[in-house]
């Protein structure tokens, strides 16, 4: 039986993080009332003209730099013509033969195998409006708020070989873009969307077989599922000698049914009639400008990972978790700076903070609060168990750690005389246990320890209690 491999290329649309749209001054804010953020330009009234937003050029150059691309200092815009109700001018201003960036790559590290995924090009373009499909209605509504929001489209080489690789690539890309402040990449809000091109071939072959495009995926989980399903669909055809049944087409992922379905075949493929946008002269970027933009790039995930492993002596797994979201990594580093406790900070963030983030949108406590908490535990003011309760309290409170500990009465009793009194009291009411210990039944030490902690209502510092109990028993 032949062994097959999957060949995957991605086209990723990313909304750029700008205040205003790409060709007009309307706001890009998400979630406004329909058509609130529109003007004659972005709804394509007769006579209007586009004026390019400088931040778009800046962010696209930044993306190109972050993804190791060549920046095309002369590039130009083109019109892509097609009719669709979300596209008011019946053409999208995009870039065709001279994109702003070309030829980059991302290094992936998948199960310790280094993989280089090529980036073919990055171009700038305008987003379309949004159609609102009402249930049980004979109408569709159009909201042009998203129309004209700046996008970059990142096109990869067909370099990925599995759903895992594609998802790993997307995660890495997302992290890089967020780190660089290029986009918030909120897939659920559509600010990062992805088209997947998939073909299947016999392992070892260098040929590219007929590919199928799955359009508009907006969740990593669904991308993964869709690729598995689609590669399997294609492999079945090849396996049964029906490779011709794989036709070049655009398919849609039906998440509820868990399968891909045909959207349009090659025959009704669009004839986009690209031509140079006559309303916009070529974009010419001074090489110093491009260099200056490159220099504004912050530390990217790969460099950060390396540094954090060395500096904080964390495991690779820990660092990978911490840097997946930039704001988490930032939170971590700030906490370490305040507490000087890299390992503890990592533990708290990975087990507690990330748990909370599954349901919360933002980290619900400050780095000051977390570092104080870590330090109080270290000092022995409170027990680790009490610490968890303090953490829960911090989620809903802005009070200082000190105040919460006081309010909850969590302070550990570490004072020797207080503990001694408790130990004495326990010992005097448990003569049998003392005898047992003396006769060599060491397990009675544990019993006495428990009694002491109980008597202290859990607040006795276990170390101190143990120390004093041992002293007394040995006497």
């Amino acid at each position: 039986m032949a062994v097959y491999e999957t060949v995957i290329g991605l086209e990723i649309h990313v909304e750029l993080d700008t205040k205003s749209k790409i060709f007009c001054s309307c706001s890009t804010k998400f979630g406004a009332e329909p058509n609130k953020n529109t003007c004659p330009v972005c709804i394509g009234l007769p006579g209007v003209m586009p004026v390019l937003n400088e931040e778009v050029v800046k962010l696209a150059v930044k993306a190109g730099s972050a993804l190791n691309c060549k920046i095309n200092l002369i590039n130009k815009t083109d019109r892509k013509n097609y009719f669709y109700p979300d596209l008011p001018k019946a053409y999208q201003i995009s870039q065709f033969d001279l994109p702003i960036c070309s030829g980059g790559f991302i290094d992936l590290d998948i199960e310790d195998r280094a993989r280089k995924i090529g980036i073919t090009r990055i171009h700038i373009e305008e987003d379309a409006g949004k159609l609102i499909h009402l249930e049980d209605s004979e109408y569709t509504l159009i909201d042009y708020n998203r129309g004209g929001v700046p996008l970059i489209e990142i096109v990869t080489e067909p370099d990925m070989r599995s759903a895992d690789e594609a998802v790993a690539f997307l995660k890495k890309l997302r992290a890089i873009l967020i780190y660089s402040g290029i986009s918030d990449c909120k897939m659920e809000q559509g600010s990062m969307r992805c088209d997947v091109n998939i073909s299947v071939r016999e392992y070892g072959s260098q040929e590219l077989n007929t590919k199928v495009e799955i359009k508009n995926m907006n969740s990593l989980k669904e991308v993964h599922k869709a690729i598995l399903k689609e590669e399997n669909r294609q492999m079945q055809f090849y396996h049964y000698g029906e490779g011709h049944k794989v036709v070049q087409e655009t398919r849609r992922w039906d998440a509820s049914k868990g399968r891909t379905v045909t959207m349009r075949s090659k025959e009704d493929a669009h004839d986009y009639r690209y031509f140079p946008e006559p309303d916009l002269p070529p974009v010419i970027i001074a090489s110093e400008t491009a260099e200056a933009i490159k220099n504004t790039l912050p530390e990217l995930p790969d460099a950060k990972r390396k540094r954090m492993i060395e500096k904080y002596r964390l495991t690779e797994q820990e660092v990978d978790i911490l840097i997946e979201e930039k704001y988490v990594a930032d939170f971590y580093e700030e906490t370490v700076q305040l507490s000087n406790e890299p390992k503890e900070a990592s533990n708290w963030i990975i087990t507690e903070v990330l748990r909370v983030l599954k349901t919360e949108k933002e980290i619900p406590l400050t780095t000051r609060q977390l570092s104080d908490l870590i330090l109080e535990i270290k000092k022995g003011t409170i027990s680790r168990t009490a610490g968890k309760e303090v953490f829960e309290a911090l989620i809903t409170s802005e009070a200082s750690v000190e105040k919460i500990i006081a309010a909850k009465g969590f302070q550990q009793i570490s004072a020797k005389d207080e503990i001694e009194a408790i130990v004495d009291q326990v010992l005097s009411s448990n003569p049998q246990a003392i005898e047992d210990f003396a006769s060599g039944k060491t397990q009675s030490f544990g019993f006495l320890m428990g009694q002491c902690m109980k008597a202290s209502k859990g607040k006795g510092n276990p170390g101190v209690v143990k120390e004093i109990l041992e002293q007394k028993l040995r006497r």
């Binding site: 937003n53 499909h133 004979e138 109408y139 002269p281 010419i284």
Partner: protein, 94 residues
Amino acid sequence: MKVTKEEVAYIAKLSNLMLTPEQAEKQAEEFSNILNHFDTINQENLTGIEMYSFEDEPLRLRKDEAIPFKNSDELYANTKSMQETAIKIPKVVE
């Protein structure tokens, strides 16, 4: 250059225009005439010429500032079918 009725029909479809068969036929003939004249351009020696020249004034860029459109009350005054602030069209199946 002979343009066929079928080509004209395809072009009409791409242009979102409707043509009767008679119109398509007439249009095909007119197109053939016009395109015949356009063939003069095929006799030109155009080797060595680049499609774009980048010597003109470079593109000016706009500052990234959000400024709402002033006359927003009138922006959709020409729109014939709306539901509150959204534009209403017959159902589109994606």
